[in-house]
Point group: C2
Chain length 485, copies 2
């Protein structure tokens, strides 16, 4: 308790410096999907490693990764690995000298975060540049502010505070793993977890890459949707053709993709892929009841968060059910052809759609992809050749609330926020949580401090600075409490 309180005081006294350090990290455009930013991504990794070393963590190192790119043939057949691209490094650190507690080995907590960010486009929508962090109205605006540099930095600063309060010792064993490919599928860390589980051996993982249900409402996330991110490439004529000469005879891959995409949902927003819902496990009655009691107003959400005339999605389910506990299908972009100003009368020879599906317990990504691929090929219009590729995938997750770490987390947040924690799910995907369950056999505590209007993956991403500081205090209390210090 003494260490805990001293660490909380330290964090409060050094809060401004912590924000300044975060700004320096946010200035690095570590966009993992952009091959031209490879050096910046590495610079961010080195920045994090240097700080972990400075505060007292041990065995700090960058772990190189590589990512096989998998292509699936249009007809059924085995997946083919066509290329291995160089991945972005993992940052690893540990401290494994915590004192035994009552004769039992100290608990080990695995802290996970990521230092890579989404692309900032469209740039003209940002009020201040995405890589020039700016404070406004109690928030810090920058790409990665909340997802996930700001939240990952809370972990580092909580560790620094505990080291300072403990005279260079931590009250609990800690391993830190920070990845640089979360926004592009995280294949590198998945492979590392799979191949080197001993190096990450722990009792529980702490993941801060999610959000609070509402401002001032401490939240633990106990469910995540999984996903499959795919590309459908459609080819028609051998070469681009003139739509005057050939319109009415040549297949148009854009029209074909439109017909395929339109065929994936019915009028009520239900996904039409045969078998797709077979494994969907509905939330319990108790869970549904708790969701109904959350401070959530669909009309307010529509107006303030989405800003569309009406909400869409599957008929017969509430917004929270639709975004937390039901699959969804979205199209992210359609490449090819002519999209410049003016008119070009071309029937393009090819077009490519980026289509993803969110999955819920107990759907299996590989099975869902196989169902999707077979159906897309079945409804493909004549004259069009398809290639359906899986870009990446992640398991849906349900976290048990019945463990001491959940109790430690709710207790820590209760002290900081003076409120009971709510248990929610998230519509997003954090594939690593599934990897930790499957490969390390450990649960994850999803203690996130983002807010629903933080503009995740969008222009003007922000992080509420009060939550940055409350997050550090909560993590300090959680770690000290798990170590019973």
């Amino acid at each position: 308790m003494k260490t805990m309180n001293a660490a909380v005081t330290y964090a409060k006294e050094n809060g401004e410096r912590f924000v300044d350090e975060l700004k320096a990290l946010l200035r690095i455009p570590s966009i993992s999907t952009d091959p031209e930013r490879t050096a910046d991504v590495r610079r961010a990794a080195e920045f994090v490693a240097a700080e972990l070393r400075r505060i007292g963590m041990e065995n700090v190192r960058l772990i190189e990764t590589s990512t096989p790119e998998t292509v699936l043939a249009p007809s059924s057949g085995p997946a083919q690995v066509v290329a291995a691209r160089e991945g972005h490094p993992l940052v690893y650190a540990d401290y494994l000298h915590a004192a035994d507690v009552d004769g039992k080995a100290a608990t080990t907590v695995l802290l996970y975060g990521h230092y890579d960010v989404q692309p900032p486009e469209p740039l003209d929508k940002w009020k201040t540049p995405p890589f020039e962090p700016t404070e406004r109205d109690g928030n810090i605006y920058a790409r990665g502010a909340v997802d996930d540099k700001g939240q990952m930095w809370m972990h580092v600063k909580a560790l620094e505070s505990l080291f300072a309060a403990g005279g260079g010792r931590l009250p609990v064993n800690v391993r830190v793993i920070v990845e640089g490919e979360e926004e592009v599928g995280g294949e590198g860390i998945a492979e590392f977890v799979r191949e080197h589980p001993d190096e990450l051996a722990a009792d529980v993982a702490l993941v801060s890459d999610s959000e609070m249900f509402a401002p001032d409402l401490p939240t633990l996330c106990v469910g995540l949707r999984g996903m499959i991110y795919t590309e459908i490439e459609a080819r028609g004529a051998r070469t681009d053709l003139h739509s005057g000469m050939y319109g009415g005879a040549a297949p148009n891959p854009f029209v074909a993709l439109a017909q395929i995409i339109a065929g994936l949902k019915d009028d009520s927003g239900h996904i039409t892929i045969p078998g797709f819902y077979d494994k969907v496990s509905p939330p319990s009655a108790a869970e549904l009841k708790a969701w109904r009691e959350l401070p959530f107003d669909e009309e307010h959400y529509r107006e303030t968060e989405v800003g569309s005339t009406v909400l869409t999605g599957e008929a017969g389910f509430s917004v929270l059910e639709r975004t937390w506990a039901r699959p969804a299908l979205d199209v992210h972009g359609i490449a090819g052809g002519f999209t410049g100003a003016g008119a070009k009368t071309v029937i393009p020879s090819r077009a490519l759609a980026k289509v993803s599906m969110r999955l819920v317990p107990d759907q299996k990504p590989m099975e869902a992809f196989a169902q999707y691929k077979a159906y897309v090929e079945k409804i493909c219009p004549k004259g069009i050749a398809l290639e359906v590729r899986l870009i990446h995938s992640g398991d849906p997750i349900a976290v048990s609330t019945d463990n001491p770490y959940v109790r430690a987390a709710t207790s820590a947040m209760h002290t900081v926020f003076a409120k009971e924690t709510v248990f929610i799910r998230s519509g997003g995907s954090i594939p690593i949580v599934g990897d930790f369950i499957r490969e390390l056999g450990i649960p994850s505590i999803l203690m996130g401090f983002g807010l629903p209007d933080d503009n995740l993956h969008a222009p003007n991403e922000k992080f509420h600075l009060a939550n940055f500081h409350r997050g550090i205090e909560s993590i300090v209390r959680f770690l000290a409490s798990v170590g019973e210090a």
Copy 2:
């Protein structure tokens, strides 16, 4: 006859130089749709004007144009002109001193062509660069080789040959009008024809912007499809959203556009817009019979021209009917969202589809657009706001074969090719032909020398050099014959 033969001899003796001059013109990247090429477009106009001046044409000048950009509001209401952009200049020249024939005023022929070209993209598909004209296998490869710089140059070189043979006089009155916006809708010339019909007063127009049905088969085109080129802009959420958090609740403009596009055609390729076919006038039984006798093999066409596994389009019609005498609908590109390498899990706030329809006699472009717009708005999924814009349009055309100019043209080509002329239609649109009918009250002779495999609007556009020379001779003979010289 003497002048005609001397001109033909001159053209043959100077053929190589004519090709060299054409190459110089083809090196100018006069891409009318690209605002960054404005200076190059003007340079091409000046190149053509200088040559017209050199060969002896009079009153040579550039005519400046401006193009109003029209936007139609999503709800019904009047079209709004939102901006007038500067247009590309017209090139005008005339020679109006031809001798009377048998006491009657000499005939005046209006020669039309265009010096602007389509964008060359995708650049990596060109075997040699699009603006470095290259001779290969008896062809000249370059953007604009056949569409329309090469064919327009035939007109200029036929005039030069007639001037040379006639001692500085032409056997027929000639006006030349060459535009620089054919590939972007030709609003500038349309406005000029509408507002200054006296300055283009003529008896007949000669347009060489079409193709021969087969190599060595002299062809007159007597029907053209019209078109409406549109944009559908779909807006959903106020800003880009994360597909994890919002997938299942936020409207997706790409899915909406896919559903709209898929809703525009039924399974048999029939356009489903209510009333769209009401004004469609079928070809005559005689015309259909003549088409069946043309040397055309659908399987050969599929394999060599289209290169797709099967042909598509409306069931129950032959390929020639589908591409010449039936409406068609094509999508040229869909802009917005994320189309880069890798994965970005975004629900974009907006997406834009470029959709065009080819029209046939007696459809009216404005009526067809109104039907389309109303239907698109009707089938728009909930939660999506639309803006449906008309980018440009052109009337479908049917040319009468019963006039002396058609006879002069067929006679000229018979001498050059030693074959009977076939009368075909084209699936493409040449809106100016409609303007000439409507505003000037004159028919057009569509005497084109392109070939079906000339890669119009596509990479590796070419012009068969033998046709360039035969085209010049045919035009010399046509003009001399119309002037009875």
